[in-house]
């Protein structure tokens, strides 16, 4: 019998092949498409939903998708938009910019999608933006909260619906410098959202008279934070401000809770996404930001939660959070804008969205919200929360401790950085 020895070369060859297979598998599927064609009906408006199903933000991406689908279902139940049904297609963007870019291209050129919706990771959002801008396709960045998304990476065709790192820093940092202490350390996910969010926090800390002792950059997909926690203990800061997201923040929270480091120093976690919190509820600590909570005592919230639950019975998350909420709000406002514009022409829709104003009641938030026409970022209420010491039920994890009105938390730096191209330079798209 011929003996085959395994060599380093065959191991490396194998690993290359495995990587290629993994990439190919995600390229070819799984694809999901929801067609609502009826014979003789008007041509549907087709949306491409660019949502992560795997990687660092896989859970959040799927929660985003639930909110987007809910808004589409509501519109279709009322007869669609401009008398046309809404159809959609989605595939896993894998929390990877290259995949996001490839899918956006495919959705636009092969699947005839005229609008793209969905993002959690700012690198993915920026990659999709490049493709969408080249084709004049409107893109809703539902949940990526890097300040750069409405700053240097803004685009005429892109609208950003989440609060960003600067908004949350403005709502929390100055108060913490004065009430907790001036020595800060930053723990930053090493990609665009982490960098831009920590830069905003640093500016706020130094502006309030505090000092940043160190900024520890944490590579994405870090699972073991012991080295960072030792470094923090050695430096003895008053406050640690984190810009860590997705699965990484869940691992960090568990390790901080295990060591009981959640009391001192004080922790300010920029924004916590509900899917990340629900994934590991016992280790929630520190003060953190959000744009919405399912137990806000405001009109419409309870009804929205019931409707969401009715359409998401099988899901792993029992109630909607900020991610699903942003996905829903973005899609709902887009569909309303098309209705108001009376057209699916991209520039007409863009102009409608640029002038968007939504009442607090309609937004289910404390203050009226508006779209900043200069940066294309939704200006909305920013909430600060901490772990709820007296939860009413197992989903009641937050105690909302403050809400800041949009103007007070506005990212004024973004306005200087954002340069939108004139309307004439946007390629015309009509569904």
């Amino acid at each position: 019998m011929k003996r085959r020895e395994i060599s380093r070369r065959s191991v490396l060859k194998g690993s290359l092949m495995a990587s290629a297979l993994a990439g190919t598998a995600s390229y070819f599927g799984p694809w999901k498409e929801n067609r609502v064609w009826a014979q003789g009906a008007a041509k549907p408006i087709k949306l491409g939903l660019t949502c992560d199903a795997s990687g660092q933000y896989g859970n959040s991406g799927q929660d985003d998708l639930r909110g987007i689908q809910m808004a589409i279902d509501e519109a279709n139940a009322k007869g669609g938009v401009l008398g046309r049904k809404i159809t959609w297609i989605t595939a896993d963007t894998e929390t990877t910019p290259a995949t996001g870019s490839r899918l956006a291209e495919r959705f636009i050129t092969r699947e005839d999608c005229t609008i793209l919706i969905g993002a959690v990771h700012s690198g993915v959002a920026n990659a999709i933006t490049q493709v969408a801008a080249k084709n004049g396709v409107i893109y809703l960045n539902t949940n990526s909260s890097a300040p750069s998304e409405a700053g240097e990476n803004c685009s005429r065709i892109k609208f950003v619906w989440d609060g960003n790192g600067t908004n949350f820093s403005k709502a929390s940092v100055a108060n913490a410098v004065n009430s907790i202490g001036k020595k800060w350390m930053l723990l930053t996910n090493d990609y665009v959202w982490g960098h831009t969010t920590s830069a905003a926090t640093r500016a706020q800390v130094e502006g309030a008279g505090g000092k940043v002792l160190d900024n520890l950059l944490v590579p994405q997909n870090t699972r073991d934070f012991t080295a960072y926690l030792l470094k923090i203990q050695q430096a003895k800061p008053d406050v640690v401000a984190t810009a860590i997201g997705g699965d990484d923040i869940k691992a960090l929270r568990e390790q901080v809770a295990q060591l009981k480091l959640d009391g001192k120093p004080a922790w300010i976690n920029n924004q916590q996404d509900w899917p990340d919190v629900w994934g590991s509820p016992d280790s929630l600590f520190g003060v953190f930001g959000t744009t919405w909570y399912h137990k806000l005592a405001l009109p419409g919230v309870a009804d929205f939660v019931k409707k969401w639950q009715a359409t998401n019975k099988e899901g792993s998350i029992p109630v909607p959070g900020n991610v699903s909420y942003n996905g829903y709000m973005a899609t709902r406002e887009l569909l309303r804008a098309i209705e108001r514009a009376g057209s699916t022409n991209n520039v007409k829709i863009i102009k409608e969205l640029e002038n968007l104003k939504v009442s607090a009641t309609d937004r289910m938030q404390h203050f009226d919200a508006y779209m900043d026409p200069v940066t294309h970022q939704m200006q909305q209420t920013i909430y600060l929360a901490r772990r709820n010491p007296k939860p009413a039920d197992k989903t009641d994890l937050y105690e909302i401790i403050s809400w800041t009105e949009p103007k007070a938390a506005a990212d004024t730096d973004a306005q200087a950085k954002c340069k939108l191209v004139p309307y004439e330079q946007v390629p015309t798209v009509d569904s």
Partner: protein, 306 residues
């Protein structure tokens, strides 16, 4: 220097965990000459089985479940350290049955088969437990932290490193000091002679593969309280495992252990002093070693080398 010591200690404990993760992978590559790409998924499966056993709804009939839950947490945890790897071992048996047609052929056949198995296992995990995260309960005695050198350390971290040392030692004893180990090594070296001596090679391969999958499961159980339990946690394990065995030299037991420690030190020290390099450092280390020593630290010498 005093500031550096905690990070060296952290690097060594992390390195032991990397070595533990790579151990089952190394055994199957070294003794069976098969690349088991399902190693990461079996690692994850071990963590999920343990979580199910330690959780409020253990997978037993009602009476047995009640008696099981009445046991102290420490006893349940100790039993889980045996039961969960045993259950994963059954999955290993199924994979090994499928792999038999690939023996003696190009290693890529086995690689493709185990890659497929990895995808199937990960999807089964998603279907069974969903996409949410879970936490593995551990006994209070090994949980929490302790103060040493003015710093708070994780008790579990040292417990996990201790388990890694124990498992590495036991595997070494089994391979190097027992007749079973000698037969397995002989089978890997020259299967035809071993078969001619009347040894059942099919059973031998099955035992080695199942042993490797059980080691993957033990690593998953030990690492789960640090990394958390989620469907794609296997990917986080299989990549460092791959790297450790290439760095240590394919098929070398102590090469894998030393490589694990080096990777741990690289990640731990860079995490403290050049944090953005902490994950990249292991790849830089691999490139540095392989550039000067293509077969890894303790890899077999190629016939092409002078």
């Amino acid at each position: 220097m005093f500031d550096l010591l905690p990070h060296i200690l952290n690097g060594l404990t992390l390195g032991l965990l990397f070595a533990l993760i790579a151990l089952g992978f190394m055994l199957i590559v070294g003794l069976m000459e098969q690349i088991n790409l399902a190693h990461g998924s079996l690692f994850a499966l071990g963590a999920y089985f343990a979580m199910q056993l330690m959780g409020p709804r253990p997978p037993f009939p009602a009476d047995l479940a009640q008696s099981w839950l009445a046991l102290p947490l420490g006893w349940r945890y100790a039993a889980t350290l045996i039961l969960a790897p045993a259950a994963v071992g059954l999955v290993g048996i199924a994979i090994e049955f499928c792999m038999r047609r690939t023996y003696g052929k190009d290693p890529l056949y086995g690689l493709l088969l185990t890659f497929g198995a990895a995808m199937v296992i990960e999807e089964m995990i998603r279907l069974t437990w969903g996409t949410r995260d879970y936490v593995l309960q551990v006994p209070q005695a090994v949980n929490g932290g302790f103060i040493f050198g003015d710093l708070i350390w994780s008790t579990y971290r040292f417990y996990a490193a201790g388990i890694a040392v124990a498992v590495i030692g036991l595997v070494w004893l089994l391979i190097e000091k027992t007749s079973f180990g000698a037969t397995v090594k002989a089978g890997a070296h020259d299967s035809e002679i071993v078969r001619a001596l009347g040894i059942n090679l099919t059973r031998l391969r099955l035992l080695v593969f199942v042993f490797g999958t059980m080691l993957a499961a033990i690593a998953g159980i030990i690492v789960a309280p640090i990394w958390g339990i989620r469907p794609h946690m296997g990917v986080d394990a299989v990549i460092p495992a791959f790297l450790v065995i290439v760095l240590g030299g394919v098929g070398s037991f102590w090469g894998a252990v030393v490589a694990g420690l080096l990777v741990g030190l690289a990640v731990g020290l860079s995490g403290a002093y050049a944090s953005e390099w902490s994950l990249l450092s292991m790849y830089v280390l691999l490139v540095a070693v392989v550039t000067f020593r293509a077969r890894g630290l303790w890899g077999k010498k190629s016939m092409l080398e002078a």
